[in-house]
């Protein structure tokens, strides 16, 4: 059987967390499948990153060339297409990230290979590779099985597992780049850093975060009064920033900020995993949501199933009384 090839992800000179997280998944799966797990790094100036990854007891295949200085989905696809032909891996795995989603489906179509996107778990049973993934706002889990194929393509959700501690020393092998010509039809132009706002919510001690449940911005004053009463800063879920109720620089979640306040009060936030990823480090989480099934309750310390607009004014009043 071919190997499990883990395409590690890095950006601006740093390995991203998903690369380490896959080191928890791939070696275990390789054991079950009776094969080897190896890592793959594509980029420029990779020595440091290759060293870090090999610390997980795997062989790290490195394609180090200045043409890969910045991520380009087309270049990645070309390289992976040629590596699939050459190495015939049993599994090619990468993250379900802004990077992974930008080439894996195209690679699957090109190579006529099956793809399961955003697995949170992988199992090999009776000769079949099966993935667990979530559907319907995280309320349903699905078991999806691959039919037999030469190579299984799979992407892993960020934060689905904890990154392991480094294990034994592995090795590093440099490969020649299969990319021989430039890609004229897609060019990397630049990175634009996230805007900086008046409040840095990553430093806030107390955060009140609102979500879709806010319904409209004319409901914000209630929240602002509560925030003032407990010296909290206001943040929002993706739904709240998309709707323009909350500035983008105050978005909590994968595509926004990762926050670690002492108290996180989630109001009308369902708790999609992208949001939870940004706030699970909060010390105490209070969630108020009408929907008893809302995933936010799985990370809450205190939960109130109710209409936030009934709870918030009463909460402000009671806090006022108690704190005098």
């Amino acid at each position: 059987m071919g190997k499990i090839l883990v395409l590690a992800e890095h950006r601006q000179g740093e390995l991203r967390d998903i690369s380490y997280e896959m080191m928890a998944i791939a070696p275990k799966l390789a054991e079950d499948m009776g094969c080897e797990a190896e890592a793959l790094l594509i980029g420029s100036n990779l020595d440091d990153m290759a060293g870090k990854l090999s610390g997980y007891g795997v062989k790290v295949n490195v394609i180090d060339d200045p043409v890969f200085e910045n991520f380009n989905a087309e270049k990645y696809q070309k390289v992976l297409s040629s590596l699939i032909d050459e190495m015939k891996p049993a599994v090619l795995m990468t993250g379900q990230t802004a990077q992974g989603v930008d080439f894996m489906p195209a690679l699957a179509v090109e190579k006529k290979l099956p793809l399961i996107a955003e697995a949170i778990d992988l199992n090999y049973e009776d000769g079949a590779l099966k993935a667990t993934r979530t559907m319907y706002s995280g309320k349903v889990n699905a078991t999806v099985a691959f039919k037999p194929a030469d190579t299984y393509l799979v992407t892993i959700r960020e934060g689905a597992v904890e990154a392991p501690e480094p294990a034994a020393a592995g090795s590093v092998e440099k490969l020649d780049s299969p990319l021989k010509e430039d890609i004229p039809y897609r060019k990397f132009v630049e990175y634009i850093e996230a805007e900086v706002g008046d409040v840095d919510i990553t430093q806030s001690e107390i955060l009140i975060a609102v979500g879709r449940g806010l319904k409209e911005d004319k409901n914000l004053p209630d929240i602002e009064e509560l925030a003032k009463a407990i010296k909290a800063d206001i943040a929002g879920s993706r739904a709240a920033t998309d709707a323009g109720w909350i500035p983008h620089d105050r978005q909590v979640g994968t595509s926004g900020k990762t926050v670690k306040p002492k108290l996180y009060l989630a109001l009308g936030i369902s708790g999609a995993f992208q949001h939870v990823a940004g706030m699970k480090g909060a010390k105490t989480v209070v969630a108020v949501n009408k929907d008893p099934e809302a995933p936010i309750f799985t990370v809450a310390d205190y939960a109130i199933v109710d209409d936030m607009f009934k709870v918030v004014p009463a909460l402000k009043e009671k806090l006022g009384e108690l704190k005098g």
């Binding site: 087309e74 489906p105 897609r186 996230a194 799985t298 205190y302 109130i304 709870v311």
Partner: protein, 262 residues
């Protein structure tokens, strides 16, 4: 500028109770309300904004049931010009690679500069259809796009990466762009538009009408099997505060104050 926008009719499960049917492969959707997928709504707006800026036309493309025509008419009311709805029970809807193949079948004889899709469907969330579609069509793509600038024969797309970082890429046209939510402010359909939409062309097509071999897009053609759906065990360590809203607020206030949290 000739564009297509691909939209999906999805249930809103953000506040709904979801139950798995006894078959273990579908959910009970009898109490769901369906509408346009969130990201697709932004894709419709972006396609109409570009049409208003550059001229041209926008066609809507959707795979879905008869009931989804309400959603399609709404896109037409917002400024799209005509629509095609594909319905065929032989399509393996669980696999985005198959969906992409069907959409590509509908686009293969069409001229276009841009194809818009949402970057993610709210129901199954693969984030794969648009990028797979681009490969099927043999054109460029950028995913998770939060800003679009149409240039001469090219498009500049700002891709939203993790942490709010943007990656700006330049693509030669034609191209597929998968649109991220928040890229624009989707408009409400104007009354006049709603009236006009009733008169706009809405074609319904089967696989045979598209000249697609059903065997190529069937469950047998898919490389993946949806084996089983189940409700995950919820591991909540939360203390649920009970009572009337006032009582809940009072108990919470007391917990927060006594715990030194506020």
């Amino acid at each position: 500028m000739k564009s297509f926008v691909c939209i999906k009719y999805v249930p809103d499960t953000s506040e709904a109770e979801v139950k798995v049917n006894p078959d273990g492969k579908t959910v009970d959707d009898s109490r769901f309300s369906y509408d346009i997928n969130d990201a697709d709504n932004y894709a419709v707006e972006e396609s109409v904004l570009i049409k208003e800026d550059k001229g041209g036309e926008v066609d809507v493309l959707s795979i879905g049931p008869k009931q989804s025509e309400v959603m399609i008419r709404m896109a037409l009311a917002k400024g799209c010009d005509r629509a095609t709805r594909i319905e065929d029970e032989r399509i393996a809807g669980h696999d985005p690679l198959i969906i992409a193949r069907v959409l590509a079948g509908a686009l293969k004889d069409q001229e276009f500069d841009l194809v818009f899709t949402g970057c993610m469907a709210a129901d199954d969330g693969h984030m794969s259809t648009g990028v797979a579609l681009a490969e099927e069509l043999g054109v460029n793509h950028a995913s998770m796009v939060k800003e679009v600038e149409v240039l001469d024969g090219k498009v500049k797309a700002h891709r939203e990466l993790e942490g709010g970082l943007m990656e700006v890429v330049e693509l030669e046209l034609p191209a597929v762009l998968t649109i991220q939510t928040g890229i624009n402010e989707p408009r409400y359909a104007p009354i006049r538009g709603i009236r006009q939409a009733q008169k706009k062309e809405l074609n319904v097509k089967s696989l045979d009408d598209l000249g697609l071999d059903p065997a190529e897009v069937s469950f047998d053609a898919s490389g993946i099997i949806l084996e089983n759906l189940y409700i995950p065990e919820v591991e909540s360590a939360a203390e649920f505060i009970e009572g009337e809203p006032d009582e809940k607020a009072e108990k919470l206030a007391s917990i927060l104050v006594k715990g030194g949290l506020v």
